[in-house]
Symmetry: C2
Subunit: 207 residues, 2 copies
């Protein structure tokens, strides 16, 4: 059975990141990287990691369409599996990213405490935009089960990726139960002394 874990590897030590990715690449659905890794290792790390696993670029893009286009162009040759963006800045930017042909994942609910102040209040409008743009998936926090369940019930064809599991308090099994297709796990994997065992533990917890 395919793993439903996305390993969020926010490492800035390139050798450590490559070694860890080689070790766990086949046991997770995908590896997710963010700007700290790009800043440290350069964009070619996307292509390098692609040999071990699918790579999701968690760029949280939140800019005007022209900038979105320029960013997507810069990484097109690195074979990213998907890119994460913020529909909050407008459907024109969202559609621009979808039009590049890279799978687009739109954020509709985040896992930090402050997300409840603005962003998470508007998940319905954001979800509607993501559907309308023909995107691939959504980000819906895995540490607020009530919200996650409500969002997932309206997801239609979209894949639901849930951060906030592990260090941020969410449980993998509960997230899946409440509608996540994939759970995003970061520190619980890369800070573990034995990441393979940690992944196996989570995989069996989910099943």
């Amino acid at each position: 059975m395919e793993s439903r874990i996305v390993a969020s590897l926010d490492l800035t030590d390139k050798e450590k990141l490559l070694a860890l990715s080689e070790t766990i690449g086949k046991q997770v659905f995908a590896i997710k990287i963010n700007w700290p890794t790009i800043l440290s290792a350069g964009k070619s790390i996307i292509g390098e990691l692609s040999s071990y696993s699918k790579v999701i670029c968690d760029f949280k893009l939140a800019d005007i369409p022209n900038t979105i286009k320029l960013i997507a162009k810069q990484i097109a040759d690195q074979d990213p599996y998907a890119i994460i963006c913020h529909p909050f800045v407008g459907s024109d930017s969202l559609k621009e990213l979808v039009s590049t042909g890279i799978r687009t994942i739109g954020v509709v609910a985040m896992s930090n405490d402050g997300a409840s102040e603005h962003l998470n209040k508007h998940w319905k409008e954001l979800l509607s935009d993501v559907k309308g743009a023909g995107a691939y998936g959504i980000i819906a926090a895995g540490n607020n089960y009530t919200l996650l369940k409500e969002i997932s019930s309206q997801k239609e064809h979209l894949k639901v990726f849930s951060p906030g599991v592990g260090a941020q308090g969410g449980s993998a099994a509960e997230s899946i139960k409440n509608g996540s297709d994939y759970i995003i796990v970061g520190r619980a994997i890369y800070d573990s002394a034995d990441p393979v065992s940690e992944i196996k533990k989570i995989n069996s917890e989910i099943q």
Copy 2:
């Protein structure tokens, strides 16, 4: 008199960017770069450009506090003048960026058409958060004068940076008249056959 232009140089050709920055660096308030440039030239471009002008990193950060911290750490040694972030993801993330000591500019209104769907409707709450976090400035679009005027009237000590001038339809003089402290000009400068004359023209238009 100090220029009130921020040159938004979304170039991905490093040599061209450095040459242009050397040419115009002393005639603008700052140079702003975004992810396309970082992806192409690497983070060291921030430090290299710092020898020609102040550098504003237009990263539109929109992530959880831990990721914000990791990103800021990665560029701390590059001497950025300021970083742009999105308060809509929550005041915890905003405060995290302010706490790094780098001048923080929060987006309260953008210039793309889609910005009116969600983001720009919430400028009052976002402005209040930016004030509360002790940030340095705000982004308020320069192609919607009515909105810009209203936002600027409530800016207090914050510096107002306005994109949307030039290629996106806004006028430099009108933006300043309606409350911008600095106008952000991109394509009108870097696509110009004579960027120095273009800057002089805008500087005199403002005065």
